[in-house]
């Protein structure tokens, strides 16, 4: 009986002592895959963006893109529009959009027009220059390059859980719409499934 008493008491002491550790911070390569919680993270954003852009650039729309462009650039101009978060996680869709823009730019096959707040900031800067900059260095108005295509998309997810095992299925869909004709010229999707032991 007495030896049985010692064991639980020892556990109590160890349990209390366990809370006394300090915090340790380790710096790591940003390319390292870190799946701490299992939720959508920067690795997913980068991987999906690269994969979707590769899919997109293989599409028929790029090869059939008109060569008679007149004054327009020889490559299609794409603006990345809204990516809507339809998941049950707070996903930074701006970060995902930036990843898509980066991947498209790195391909060298398209030009990227700034959208959203970046475009507003550029316009604001142009307005400021028209007032404060020397006229020969000030950016001109009306020389923005209009986009040929707008890319939009959505991220959806289905979560399932049994006991301490959770699965999350992500479906990412993107589409490219011709700005002039409003025709959808390309649609693509990718799926990711994660199993998380809680």
């Amino acid at each position: 009986m007495t030896s049985k008493l010692l064991l639980p008491v020892l556990f109590v002491v160890l349990a209390l002592a366990a809370g006394c550790g300090g915090r340790e911070v380790t710096r790591t390569d940003p390319d390292t895959v870190t799946d701490l919680s299992g939720y959508w993270n920067e690795t997913d954003a980068g991987m999906v963006a690269d994969s979707m852009v590769a899919q997109c650039l293989k599409g028929e729309w790029l090869t059939s893109f008109a060569s008679s462009r007149g004054e327009r650039p020889d490559r299609p101009v794409v603006v990345v529009g809204g990516i809507y978060n339809k998941t049950s996680e707070h996903i930074d869709t701006d970060l995902f959009m930036n990843e898509i823009e980066r991947s498209l730019l790195e391909s060298g096959k398209v030009l990227i027009a700034a959208g959203g707040t970046s475009r507003m900031e550029a316009r604001s800067e142009r307005e400021e220059q028209s007032i404060f900059a020397a006229s020969e260095t000030a950016a001109e108005f009306g020389r923005e390059v209009g986009a040929d295509f707008v890319m939009t998309g959505r991220i959806g997810s289905i979560v399932d859980q049994e006991g301490d095992t959770r699965s999350i299925y992500y479906q990412v869909n993107l589409e490219l719409v011709d700005v002039e004709t409003a025709l959808k010229t390309w649609m693509g999707g990718i799926e990711i499934k994660k199993i998380i032991d809680l």
């Binding site: 008493l5 639980p8 556990f11 109590v12 349990a15 209390l16 998941t87 049950s88 707070h90 859980q161």
Partner: protein, 444 residues
């Protein structure tokens, strides 16, 4: 007499066990007192003073009460209108609550030798749901409907997991009718009418199936009208006929809503959820002290409130949408069997420890005398002393939540909201055609 006991080899282990128990009590049991004072400060001196007092008085902000700390502080910031800070705290709380399944053997054993207060605070089912409700309110108040809807979807997943965990055992709080209805409003605001209808229909089902039976709160007419209205707007004729036949008393005129008008939706939280009280029984049998202590939420008589929202000639009366005190009480009753089983297990273990202590003293002194008897008695006394009910709960949650929907022609309009005749909100809003504006006044 005491000196003889202190000389016993192994006394350090016993002393540490008792000291660990006492330390445990110091950290956890004061929450009810702390929050009682903070809530009084909130009523008398306002939010800033309440937050300051809370930060100073909440003892354990990083240990096993971290989740409770985050929920209370997040809610204080929400009530103060500091939504970004509230969101940061609630998101951490939600993540912590989500990952709480991990088993911590040290704490479990400590809890068997002391009380449930030695365990990490685990949020009750309704508290888990309220984290997402509070987050949705914060996002909606900041005008971020997309992220408010993330919370609605997250809540859906959470409820599925919660109910799967109960299995056939059943659970009276299996869904939240008010939060479903609030989700429907958010979906409608985002223009996602199909999802809004699903949420409204689910809300009606939960009100009539569970809230009516357990909390005396059947589906309010407003919720039913919203179901009929969206059925009509979406062209779901057979569904509309089915529901209309079920609710023949509802005025057909109330279904028409001019698409050129806008809407104000008021969500008014009233009062605070009452703290848990300890029910205990102590018995002395054969020089041993036995004590059992359980948490409860006592019944108190409460008066109904009256919510009204008006702008010019347009007036609407609100309705009770959620009775969190009733939910908390039933939820605790649902847990009573499990809490009692743990308390009995503790009682048996503590009795065993006292017996072992007495036997140990007998062996060392070589006789069955006063010293060994006293050792057993003191150990049983320590066991009884450390037996406390776990009274920890989220105390800045509202007692009840009322809602009102006011439809208005477009333009700048002054909207006044009263609770029991007292103005709780008065301000000018810009009503836009087809838009829904959310107001979150606090009703005292």
């Amino acid at each position: 007499m005491r000196k003889r006991i202190i000389r016993i080899p192994g006394r350090d282990f016993v002393a540490i066990a008792v000291l660990a128990a006492l330390a445990t009590l110091a950290c956890g049991a004061g929450h009810t007192l702390t929050m009682g004072s903070v809530v009084r400060t909130l009523d008398s001196d306002g939010i800033d003073a309440a937050v300051e007092e809370f930060r100073e008085s909440f003892g354990d902000s990083t240990g096993r009460n971290r989740l409770l700390y985050l929920m209370e502080l997040g809610n204080l910031y929400r009530l103060a209108g500091d939504y970004p800070t509230a969101v940061r705290l609630f998101l951490e709380a939600d993540r912590l609550s989500d990952l709480q399944g991990a088993f911590k053997p040290g704490r479990r054993i400590a809890s068997l030798l002391t009380s449930d207060l030695a365990l990490e605070f685990r949020d009750a089912d309704y508290e888990k749901v309220m984290i997402n409700y509070c987050l949705a309110v914060c996002y909606a108040a900041m005008g971020d409907v997309e992220n408010a809807l993330v919370e609605c979807r997250r809540l859906n997943n959470k409820l599925k997991v919660m109910n799967a965990a109960y299995g056939d055992m059943g659970n009276r709080y299996s869904d939240d009718a008010f939060v479903r209805y609030f989700s429907g409003v958010l979906y409608e605001k985002a223009g996602e009418l199909n999802d809004a209808l699903v949420a409204y229909r689910r809300s009606v089902y939960v009100y009539d199936e569970f809230y009516s039976r357990y909390y005396g709160l059947p589906a309010p007419d407003m919720v039913k009208i919203d179901v009929l209205r969206l059925c009509r707007e979406l062209g779901f004729r057979s569904m509309l006929e089915e529901y209309s036949a079920s609710w023949p008393d509802l005025e057909p005129d109330s279904l028409y809503r001019d698409p050129g008008w806008g809407e104000i939706v008021v969500v008014a939280e009233v009062g605070f959820i009452p703290p848990r009280k300890e029910i205990s029984r102590t018995a002395v049998v054969n020089d041993r002290i036995y004590r059992i202590a359980l948490p409860s939420i006592p019944e108190v008589r409460r008066m109904p409130h009256s919510l009204e929202a008006w702008s010019g000639d347009f007036t609407v009366r609100g309705f009770l949408a959620e009775d969190l005190t009733a939910i908390a009480r039933k939820n605790l009753e649902d847990q009573a069997g499990r809490i009692l089983a743990k308390a009995v297990a503790r009682l048996v273990l503590k009795a065993g420890v006292a017996e072992a202590g007495e036997e140990l003293v007998e062996k060392l002194t070589g006789e069955e005398g006063i010293a060994s008897g006293m050792a057993g008695f003191l150990l049983s006394l320590a066991g009884a002393f450390t037996e406390r009910a776990d009274l920890r709960s989220w105390l800045t949650l509202p007692d009840r939540i009322y809602m009102a929907r006011l439809t208005l022609p477009p333009g700048r309009r002054r909207v006044t909201v009263t609770m029991d005749g007292k103005t709780i909100h008065s301000g000018t809003v810009d009503v836009k055609p087809g838009d829904i504006l959310l107001l979150f006044p606090r009703g005292g």
